[in-house]
Structure formats: C-alpha cells, structure tokens
C-alpha cells in the first residue's frame, strides 16, 4: 500500500541557508500535518492543512512557511536556518478533516552545520 512520501530523506544545510521539505500524502488523503522532532525530544506540531487551506498552527517559527498544493502535496520552507533547526521533520496525512488516524512518513532529517 502507498505510504506518505517525504523528500529528501536527509538534508545538510549551512546556517542562514534555506531548505525546502516536501511531503506527498497517501492518495486521496486531503489533510497534511508537519511535526518537528529534535534530538531526544517528542514531536512538536508545526502546522496542518486541509483542502489546501491552513487548518491548525502550532509552534512554527516565523522563518518557516508551508503550503499545500492542488495535488495535495505539501512543502515546508525554512529560511535563515539555525543550528537549533536540526531535527527530524515528519509529515503525516489523513483523509478528511475529522479523521483522527494520521499516517506518518519516514521523516526528513535536517542537519544544520
């Protein structure tokens, strides 16, 4: 069965650079969520989208922006990267805004040096 696809799987960037993370939800899933998991930390909710509109917003820095496109894939854009942005970034998707079952991708590991 198709799963949530995240790309790239690994990314190394220098401080002050920009990074773009992509998420391709499971087919027919219209809701996408982004989470950030720092080393040894629990995942923190960043932002979610339903039908290409922002649904909920969490602790997402102003340096980050995200959107969901017409094909339901989502991109997380991160600018002016800081060392503290080094983390595992998860994308999850679900079908319908009220569906509580979210399927997670394998994550993108971002390292800022």
């Amino acid at each position: 069965a198709a799963g949530v696809i995240q790309s790239p799987r690994h990314l190394i960037k220098e401080k002050r650079e920009t990074a773009t993370l992509k998420c391709y939800p499971i087919p027919r899933h219209d809701t996408v969520y982004w989470y950030q998991q720092g080393p040894g930390q629990d995942p923190q909710f960043l932002i979610s989208f339903y039908e290409k509109m922002q649904s909920d917003k969490g602790s997402i820095p102003d340096r980050f922006s995200a959107q969901q496109f017409s094909d339901y894939h989502s991109e997380l854009n991160m600018s002016s990267l800081e060392l503290g942005d080094s983390a595992l970034y998860f994308c999850a998707s679900s079908r319908g805004q009220t569906n509580t079952e979210a399927f997670f991708g394998q994550g993108t590991r971002l390292t800022v040096v």
Partner: protein
C-alpha cells in the same frame, strides 16, 4: 493548554511477558482523543491504538490494550506476550476535539518511554 506526561523514560520486559506503560494528561476538555504511537529504531511513527474519550470501553488491538481512566486522566498501554519487534520508543498523545465536530489534527505528545524487549 493540554499536557501529556510519561513518567517512565525507560522500561524493560522479557519476551512473552506483559508490560504496562503509563501516561497521564491534563486538559479541561471533555471531548478528545488519546493515542499510543510506536517509534522503532527506523524512526517511523506508527499508530498502535486510539481511544475516544466519550467511549467508556477500553480500546484493544490484538496484543495491545489500554486502561482509560477519564476521571483520573490516565491512559496506560498494556502489551501482552511481548515480542522482540515491540522494542521501540512509545509516545502517548492527545488530540483535542474540534468545537464544531471532529478532530483538530494537532497531536500533543508526551516525552516517550523507551521499551526494550529482552530475549
């Protein structure tokens, strides 16, 4: 604000035995959802079990079951017949019910319990 607390950073269990992972949460909401997620060394987040707060019956999924005590705000996970593949970090998570119905899509996680199943 909602918080989720897992007081056991690490636990160990022998293969085939039973283990219980603890989770407490704090919320003023009456309707919400609770989850247990598993994160093996691959770092993939996998849903183990889910409970709706309005349901009194405890959720069960094969070897996994929960003890949901709404008044005590407690949500423990019991793993029966532990298997080596159960070795993972286990996260308890909370999701608020949206006022006009449905979920908020925003999971609040606890700090996790690292479970090691010993052969």
């Amino acid at each position: 604000a909602q918080t989720v607390t897992q007081s056991q950073p690490e636990m160990s269990v022998q293969e085939a035995e039973t283990v219980t992972l603890s989770c407490t949460y704090d919320t003023s909401e009456n309707n919400y959802y609770l989850f247990w997620y598993k994160q093996p060394p691959s770092r993939q987040m996998i849903l183990v079990i889910r409970q709706e707060a309005y349901k009194q019956q405890n959720a069960t999924e094969n070897r996994f079951s929960v003890n949901f005590q709404k008044a005590a705000k407690s949500f423990s996970l019991k793993i029966s017949d532990s298997q080596l593949g159960d070795t993972a970090m286990y996260f308890c998570a909370f999701m608020k019910h949206r006022e006009y119905g449905g979920a908020t899509n925003k999971l609040i996680f606890g700090t996790g319990t690292l479970l090691a199943v010993q052969p």
